[in-house]
Amino acid sequence: MEAYLGIDVGSVTTKLAMLDKNDELVASLYLLTEGKPIEMVQQGLKQIKQQLPEDVDICGVATTGSARYLAGVIVGADLVKNEITSHSVATLQYLPEAQTIIEIGGQDSKIIIIRDGVVIDFGMNTVCAAGTGSFLDHQALRLNMSIEEFSRRALASDTTVRIAGRCTVFAESDMIHKQQMGHRTEDILYGLCQALVRNYLNNVGLGKDIKSPVVFQGGVAFNQAIVKAIQEELNIQIIVPPHHEIMGAIGAALLVHEELLNNNNGSKFKGFGVSEVKYHTSSFQCKACPNLCEIAQLSLNGQVLARWGGRCDLWERSPSS
């Protein structure tokens, strides 16, 4: 069976998606990155292999997400693509008439504006993580509940409690204040969802022309309370696609398939065996100039595979030296 693999290594989760030659999803995985991107990619490969038939032939591999370059070296990717392009390609495959994509992930959030099947504008959050999943995670943890329970209880809210959403730190103190005043937890939780959505629309969505159909994807789309809050805020019905959490990986797989149709020199995929080898990462300070860049390197059996982090391409140019 001919197959194309997309790997999306995000800050919080690692996603894998396998498509067949008709671009149908045949296998997928959703794992927590747990700060160990290399191990998670290896584990992901091992696990996804079990979902596949014996005769699978990996014709192309693409990586995306914030660890896309690292993951690309490990698996031998044919294509390394940014998250914006991957997400939009996957969404357009699923819903060609989509005009807006809202994607909220663990550490970052994006908005992609599409007209006539072409991306015409996009936005990403700046360094602030106030409008993202990790903020919700953190608050759920503080209230000692799972994120699933968070979502369920927030939906049960019947009155609005307004929480300041501009900054995570202020949102938290606002939330505590509301708790101490005796507001119901359900209402506070939903207030938090509304704050996150307001923050997202006012920062990432600032000046963007949001038009229906709006597709909402990324891990946070699991949270029904957020879905409800976005709908209320925009006054538009939003669509959460099936497999919304792995759209980036699907997009990467679609892109590598497309790429290899144009020029196929065979895949650089290193095989499922890479999940067994021991990669070694280390870093050092380059002293070639006063910039003192921190260079990170990935090596296998003492041989350096890749280096990153320089302000110039001194180390990237010569990984073997």
Binding site: S66, I84, V119, D121, F122, P290, N291, R311
Partner: protein, 333 residues
Amino acid sequence: MIRIGIPRALLYYEYYPVWKRFFEELGAEVVVSPPTTQDMMVSGSSRVVADTCLPVKVFLGHVLYLVGKCDYIFIPAIRSVKSKVYNCSKFLGLPDMTNAVIPESPPILDMDVDVNKGKRKLYQAIYQLGRHFTWNPFKVRQASLAAWQAHLNYHELMSSHNLTPPQAIEIISGIPEAEANSSYLSSTRATIAIIGHPYLLYDEHINHRFISRLEQAHNRVLTPEMLSAEELQLATARLVGRAYWTYEEEVVGAGGHYLQNGVDGIIGIMAFGCGPDSLMMDMVRRQASRLKTTPFMSLTLEEHTAEAGIVTRLEAFLDMIYRKRRIQAESCR
């Protein structure tokens, strides 16, 4: 020979040739700090008063580098270079602020430039500056005329030959021109205009080699300096009427011009915490969304050492342009 230190930051890119010529005509030697390094950024940041912007931190880093390497440091207070057009307060107070936070600095040659106060005040200021070198007012006058000519030549060189300030300064200084652009132009994928202040666009350290990255991906890069003063003025007038900020034209004028002149995309670069920039970029963004013809993206620079944010946005922006073109070409077929 008296050595005059000039920090390679802020208004250096705008006025270096005029300053250099003026001091050299008066018999002084000019010492310029090298391109920004991490060291300068860290040392500059450690000295600033709270809540100052990244370009000022970098400027102070350059001043610190020059300590001990020159007899004077030249830091003019450029208040206004056009009638009723004002500069950011950080430029107005630059000599005083530097003096306050870097007490070990060599004596600062200060000069007030404010055309609102009339020509006489300006001439007086130039003469005051020249008096550090000569008592002869005619010599100062000659030096300033030669310097002004150097300034006009510099800007003419950039707009007529499509050069960036660092390229033009190299030519003026007689450094043989590196064959930079030409090799990329043969296989250009897209033409991208970048807008913003020169101290952000050409400081490769703080912008993470932004222009080089675009060129290495085979894109042609256009910058505000490649437009003539008339083109910038006209576009600014069309967009906002009268400019309020001194360096508004290189953002609003350049943005307005390139929006209507068939580039494939425009990228605005601004500094985190810059008030004027946030207003000016917004003008361009609004115009871009009104016209809907040219994609526009703005990037905010700060002290971040990680370049991932910039790289991801740049890749996504270029992909957007390439894919759009390909899909449109396919649908025409």
